[in-house]
């Protein structure tokens, strides 16, 4: 440098540098720093020497390739001059552990707060290092969708895995406060909810399954509920809600409930929630709400509100998702075992003996009229030929309208007396029966 020029530079700069005044940010020098939106405090205070130290006397004139200013310390040590030291907790973010504060933060200033070049959406910033795969699911956790990674993660360090600021469930319940309140009042809590982290079932970022579940239902549920898995695999008759989008969640409240079986209401209310409509299925299934309304002659399980006494809501190898064998047709050739479903509650011996005084009151003398109707090699009348499965209009679950028989409903027209009764259905002429004084049908015919 020519001597006159050197003298000029010295006259302009050195007095300012020597006094420490804010002359680093002149129109010609380091101007861009001051234009940053959020400035590091020392920068804002123009206290450059808080971090920097002059290592040559030639600044701003560079001599050779060397720098004329350096840092007062290296890496995190520099930041720790003012900021508390980090990295003492169990889990430390990688850059913090390596002392690379500048991996995330800008030294002088940044477009965002916390010296980060980040807006409200932190996603792209964090995914600069982190694998984006788990953030691409169709269903996203709210904070992930809005890019608020630091809502659930502490960016520096934590005593919890995953840099979480609190223990798993406690962290979740900070936002899901209504959930926490309702759970405290619940009498039945799903064990994974009370005993395990929420991430047992949910993925915290995103998932291809609704409700950010780890797997779609029922697969997620059957991982633990093996018995249900077995039933589902063996079922030839399936309960449709299980195959729907909501699957298990169609009937169960997966977290907690006040009802056994994690049902959101009583069992019957849950069932009638769907089966109380005229438009369920094609052709539509019976509207059970209407069928049961104001009837007193209820089948005991219906009366007790336990639909699952007869039906298996998870599927079954038997028609109408019944829990045991029962002929699907109106007439069925009788075979022992075919009626095991009904006979699991009702006495098996009812269909065993043509003569009895014990197993049924539907008899003429000792002649077992249940046996007469059902135990037939070719044309056994199934239970539904006379009895309604859910509710009847009088006694013995016999309906006023009678059973469906194609386009017709066969009237049963059954009456009862203290020792017997009569029946004049659409099947045969009127017959009386009497347990104590048997009616002679042959004599009747001769008349």
């Amino acid at each position: 440098m020519p001597l006159p020029l050197m003298i000029l530079v010295c006259l302009c700069c050195l007095p300012a540098l020597a006094s420490g005044e804010s002359t680093c940010f002149t129109a010609n020098c380091h101007r861009a720093i001051m234009e940053l939106k959020h400035l590091h405090a020392p920068v804002r205070d123009e206290n450059c020497l808080a971090c920097h130290v002059r290592i040559t006397t030639t600044h701003p004139i560079l001599v050779g390739n060397g720098k004329s200013f350096g840092l007062v310390a290296e890496g995190a040590k520099l930041c720790e001059k003012c900021h508390d030291a980090l990295g003492r907790k169990r889990v430390v973010h990688g850059p913090v552990r390596e002392g690379k504060c500048l991996a995330c933060h800008r030294a002088h200033g940044a477009s965002g707060e916390q010296l980060l070049d980040v807006g409200d959406d932190q996603t792209s910033f964090c995914l600069g290092c982190h694998d984006p795969a788990s953030f691409k699911g169709q269903f996203m956790h709210g904070p992930v969708a809005t890019g608020e990674c630091t809502k659930c993660h502490n960016p520096h360090e934590s005593s919890e895995p995953g840099l979480l600021p609190a223990k798993g469930r406690d962290l979740c319940l900070r936002c899901h406060a209504d959930f926490a309140k309702a759970m405290a009042a619940a009498t039945v809590v799903h064990p994974p909810v009370s005993e395990r982290p929420c991430t047992s079932c949910h993925t915290p970022h995103s998932s291809p399954a609704a409700h950010i579940l780890k797997k779609k239902m029922p697969d997620l549920c059957t991982d633990c509920h093996e018995q249900v898995a077995r039933k589902l695999s063996e079922a030839t008759v399936q309960h449709k809600p299980l195959q729907s989008k909501e699957s298990c969640g169609s009937c169960h409240s997966p977290h907690f409930s006040t009802t056994k079986g994690l049902l959101p209401n009583t069992e019957q209310e849950v069932c009638l929630g769907c089966h109380g409509s005229d438009s369920l299925g094609s052709p539509p299934l019976s509207n059970l709400k209407k069928e049961l309304a104001s009837k007193k002659d209820l089948h005991a399980p219906v009366k007790n509100g336990t639909c699952d006494s007869c039906h298996d809501p998870h599927g079954s190898p038997y028609g109408k998702i019944l829990k045991g064998p029962y002929p699907a047709q109106f007439y069925a050739p009788y075979k022992e075992g075919d009626y095991d479903f009904c006979l699991s509650c009702h006495d098996k011996s009812m269909l065993k003996f043509p003569e009895t005084t014990i197993y049924t009151k539907f008899r003429n003398g000792n002649r077992n009229l249940h046996y007469v109707h059902v135990v037939h090699k070719r044309k056994g009348r199934t239970c539904r030929a006379c009895h309604e499965p859910h509710a009847g209009d009088g006694l013995k679950l016999i309906g006023k309208n009678g059973p469906r028989f194609g386009d017709w409903r066969i009237p049963i027209r059954h009456t009862m007396t203290p020792t017997g009764g009569s029946c004049a259905p659409g099947c045969h002429r009127k017959f009386d029966y009497d347990r104590e004084k048997a009616v002679d049908y042959l004599k009747d015919q001769k008349k």
Partner: protein
């Protein structure tokens, strides 16, 4: 040398005589089955005469009294059947031609009040009670069923015209079921009038049936169980006479019978069969699977049996009998067994379990601790 021989002879004779000197005396509680199996039955007591119940009375008196006869010891001579009703024990004594009525809690041992005149028993073998307390007694010598009111007064007798050999009876709310050994069938009579209504259980060409039936029991559901001396089978019928179940055969194996006699069913459905040939009582579950047996042949004290003919089971007065049981043993049922001979005419046993043994609620069996612990170890 001769002295030595004499000493040896003395020693041998001492050993022989000590061996023959009588039955082993029970030194502690007698359990069945034997250890190391967990105990299920404990022998509790025996009754052979009124002193066993009422205690010994002094026979010394300075004056003859009118009621002195009541102080005499009453013996059970040759009993056959036993039944319990409202905590009392009723023993049919074929030898004495009477029924001994024992109240172990009140400590009374009385004869049947109406056993005289037209109500005089000749050879009573078994008896049963109706719901109203009426007592029906099968008398094989009179060939009738004698009916007594709840106070023990004779009311009437059924079946003189039926030419039967009634060996046992059971009653429900309407009907009286009588084992007719002579015709190998069960006669169903109207329990009020004695009218013959039905005959059931008879063997036909196509169906199995009774073969020299001896004893009858009715369970809580109204099913009838009959022991058959000729076929060695236990048969279960419904009240219409449908044969529902049959198990056992003649033989000396487990679950087989020599002369099956007394039979009873407890409220858990366990079937107890006394066998006067094997001289034991075998217990079966409701499916006819052998659970265990107890009693050994003999007349020694301590649970042996001598021609057992009848067995009854009860839950009444359980606290009273619990006092006789080992402190470690908790009673569930009390079992009464009649021995025709020997000093234990009535032997009383308790069915139960060791305190702390866990029972399977489905079967009533003890859960094996060893199995439990080995299962835990495998885990």
């Amino acid at each position: 040398m001769q002295q030595y021989r004499r000493a040896v002879m003395l020693l041998i004779s001492a050993m022989v005589f000590s061996g023959c000197s009588g039955a082993k005396t029970a030194t502690g509680p007698v359990f069945f089955p034997m250890a190391p199996n967990p105990p299920r039955v404990q022998y509790l007591m025996k009754v052979s005469n009124s002193e066993d119940i009422e205690g010994k009375k002094s026979s010394f008196t300075l004056f003859a009294r009118k009621d002195q006869k009541d102080d005499q010891v009453r013996h059970i001579i040759k009993p056959y059947g036993v039944t319990t009703h409202k905590g009392r024990i009723f023993i049919c004594d074929t030898g004495g031609g009477t029924i001994s009525i024992i109240d172990p809690v009140a400590k009374t041992f009385l004869p049947l009040k109406g056993n005289f005149s037209t109500g005089k028993l000749r050879k009573p073998v078994n008896l049963a009670f109706g719901n109203d307390g009426t007592m029906y007694v099968a008398d094989v010598e009179r060939k009738e069923v004698l009916v007594y009111d709840p106070e023990g007064n004779f009311k009437t007798a059924f079946g003189k015209d039926l030419e039967m050999k009634p060996t046992d009876v059971a009653v429900d709310d309407k009907f009286l079921y009588v084992i007719d050994m002579a015709h190998s069938e069960i006669k169903v009579l109207d329990s009020k009038s004695g009218k013959l209504l039905n005959q059931i259980g008879k063997r036909t060409e196509t169906t199995d049936g009774l073969a020299l039936p001896s004893n009858l029991a009715m369970d809580g559901k109204g099913f009838l169980y009959v022991t058959n001396t000729l076929s060695g089978k236990v048969m279960k019928f419904d009240r219409d006479g449908h044969l529902l179940q049959s198990f056992g055969k003649l033989g000396d194996g487990f679950g087989q019978f020599g002369r099956p006699k007394g039979i009873t069913v407890d409220d858990a459905g366990r079937i107890y069969v006394a066998d006067s040939a094997h001289q034991n009582v075998q217990l079966f579950n409701e499916k006819g699977r052998l659970l265990m047996f107890f009693g050994d042949p003999g007349s020694a004290p301590g649970g042996t049996m001598n021609l057992p003919t009848s067995v009854a089971v009860s839950k009444e007065n359980l606290d009273f009998y619990q006092k006789m049981a080992d402190p470690s043993f908790e009673l569930e049922n009390v079992i009464f067994v009649i021995n025709q001979y020997g000093s234990n005419k009535l032997s009383v046993y308790g069915l139960g379990h060791r305190k702390g043994d866990e029972l399977d609620p489905a079967t009533g069996d003890i859960k094996a601790k060893e199995q439990q612990s080995s299962a835990d170890t495998k885990k």
